[in-house]
Symmetry: C2
Subunit: 396 residues, 2 copies
Amino acid sequence: MEYKFSDKISSLKPSAIREILKATSLPGMIPFAAGNPAPDAFPVSEVQAIAADILANRPIEALQYGVTEGYAPLIAAVTKRMKEKYDIVKEFDSVIITSGAQQVMDLSTKVLCNEGDVVICENPSFIGSLNCFRSYNTKLVGVSVEADGMNMEELEKALKENENAKFIYTIPNFHNPAGVTMSLEKRKKLYALAKEYGVMILEDNPYGDLRVAGEDIPSIKSLDEDGIVIYSGSFSKILAPGIRVGFTVAPSEVIAKMTVGKQAVDVHTTQFMQMVVAEWMTKYDVDAHIEKIQAIYRKKLNLMCDMIDSELGDAVSYVRPEGGLFIWCELPEDVNALEFVKRSAENMVALVPGTAFFTDTAGKSNAVRLNFSTPADDKIVDGMKIIGKVLKEMRG
Amino acid sequence: MEYKFSDKISSLKPSAIREILKATSLPGMIPFAAGNPAPDAFPVSEVQAIAADILANRPIEALQYGVTEGYAPLIAAVTKRMKEKYDIVKEFDSVIITSGAQQVMDLSTKVLCNEGDVVICENPSFIGSLNCFRSYNTKLVGVSVEADGMNMEELEKALKENENAKFIYTIPNFHNPAGVTMSLEKRKKLYALAKEYGVMILEDNPYGDLRVAGEDIPSIKSLDEDGIVIYSGSFSKILAPGIRVGFTVAPSEVIAKMTVGKQAVDVHTTQFMQMVVAEWMTKYDVDAHIEKIQAIYRKKLNLMCDMIDSELGDAVSYVRPEGGLFIWCELPEDVNALEFVKRSAENMVALVPGTAFFTDTAGKSNAVRLNFSTPADDKIVDGMKIIGKVLKEMRG
């Protein structure tokens, strides 16, 4: 049979980048291309104890169907923490649990966008979110990213020129892939512009707790007085990604529609995993655990930055991230990034070329994204030495 | 802010039925409206042992990101069982793991349908699937269900009249809500018609292993020589629904597109839950467990049928199911089904009115769906006596 696929799925073409990345799963490859949490950042003994307790005392609750909105004690724990610690969850807001934060992107697009509608996003941005928006046949309009976040003049221009823009997608903290954090001034400006143009904001904050330097900046959602911000949160980076538990805080009217959408896509998020997270949040010291993983990532980030400075030196430029998992590294003009990625892979170091992250997949970029959370410390050293050598060879 | 939602989500309106069902969550309500497995059908001690073993010996694998296609040993176990036991998984097929079978409906529609395309389905059919198809702005075309499955003349007419039909959705075994099983003759005819008109088949088989009488009938997928059948399987009914693990067997080209779609909606299915299912399938006797739950449901189904006969008698008509979880019960013409459901709820028995399951939500039906898996045996007796009394009162 000759298959005819939908326009929306046909628009998601495997790219040349995917072919390069295929090689990166070879055994022995040093993984600077991934985005996995460090294995020692998982609270393994806590999860063991919690899982055993739940299955011993409440097995049927863990194995039976749950409700679409999520496990009530988890919703309560998330709401409490978000309110008390981050001033998120306003009177007009509700919280639902999602199957990872990726599902927040999916449900937001599903409820807000018709085909052809515009999503405004940082350029570059997280490829998983961009592909999600694309899968609804939306049009992506990119806004440049600076050291302190989105270029606000470009954002206003994008809002002016696109009356059918439905939301602005942003990763304000420790941006993936750019590594930068949006200033408070720009957060306020972004909020004011969204309000002025009647466009919602989708604030994606998977890395917010992974700050290793500098001071916390209030989330855009905490500024929300008008019910225009959808906030996406995740347990992937502070607990574990394999459990696929995220959440969203958004105006109750929007949450009601997202719930109808979620019912149709996966009924509800794994009940057992939701119970594990709820127990972890209520019986253990989440803040102490976050401090522990911040220490792990602080060490790794500093190590990788030191190695960039010593092995790549002045040939490259980067903004030193204050947290998160990624460093965006601009290569010198005389080095082609795709070729650099290819040669690094041949030498057993996996990188992602910057072009992967742009709204226009044919977009030009001469950067690479480096991840420091996945490789062990000694592999950071080894890998940086290797790509330093590759760079020197390519520059003659 | 005044929210503008997408056309597709706006089409999923809360119905009058939903209001009636709200009352059914009251404590003390006898649950004939649900579709939950019986609590004693869960392999609790096995899951306890497996979960403890995984978290003791392979915690990082369980907590870290997995691949979108699914946990490789689970894919292997599913492939082996489907091949050996059901002659499913042809040379041209692949298998991926999904977040419950509901996600198979979501991904199938995503990859096959543009807005306005037609999905042909049984009428009545499972409301969760119908709402999923609706959420892509497809047009539903319903085909009547008879005691031996879809009306084939109506199906051919629907195929003739709808050139943009993309797939035929069917629940051939122990249909939800109709309770009927499609004959082998009709399965062959359905396959031949789909082939003739170049339309795919989405075969949803969540209840197939829950046969309590009669002989197994080959799946439509087992007849597939042309790569036109997408098969949806689930662990919700034979293991547990709260873990949200399902799978799909489909032509590799289709699976490749579904994988791209899944990456954008939830990255991957919970790794820990996939590992639990894989261990259960490889280290325990799945067939013995299925026999155990068949015995549980055989008893419950027979009990409810006996109670229908004694309490509702000749006033109603139904096809005695050979398995599954549901009985479709046609009420006498002089009784309004919605009113019957309302009065039953007032007397603490929850039912779903037949109208909930039709492609046209304004469709006429004078049936109710009865579920026998959720209520304890004594509650089946109590509940049937109550609705028998309600029926008598309504008929004066």
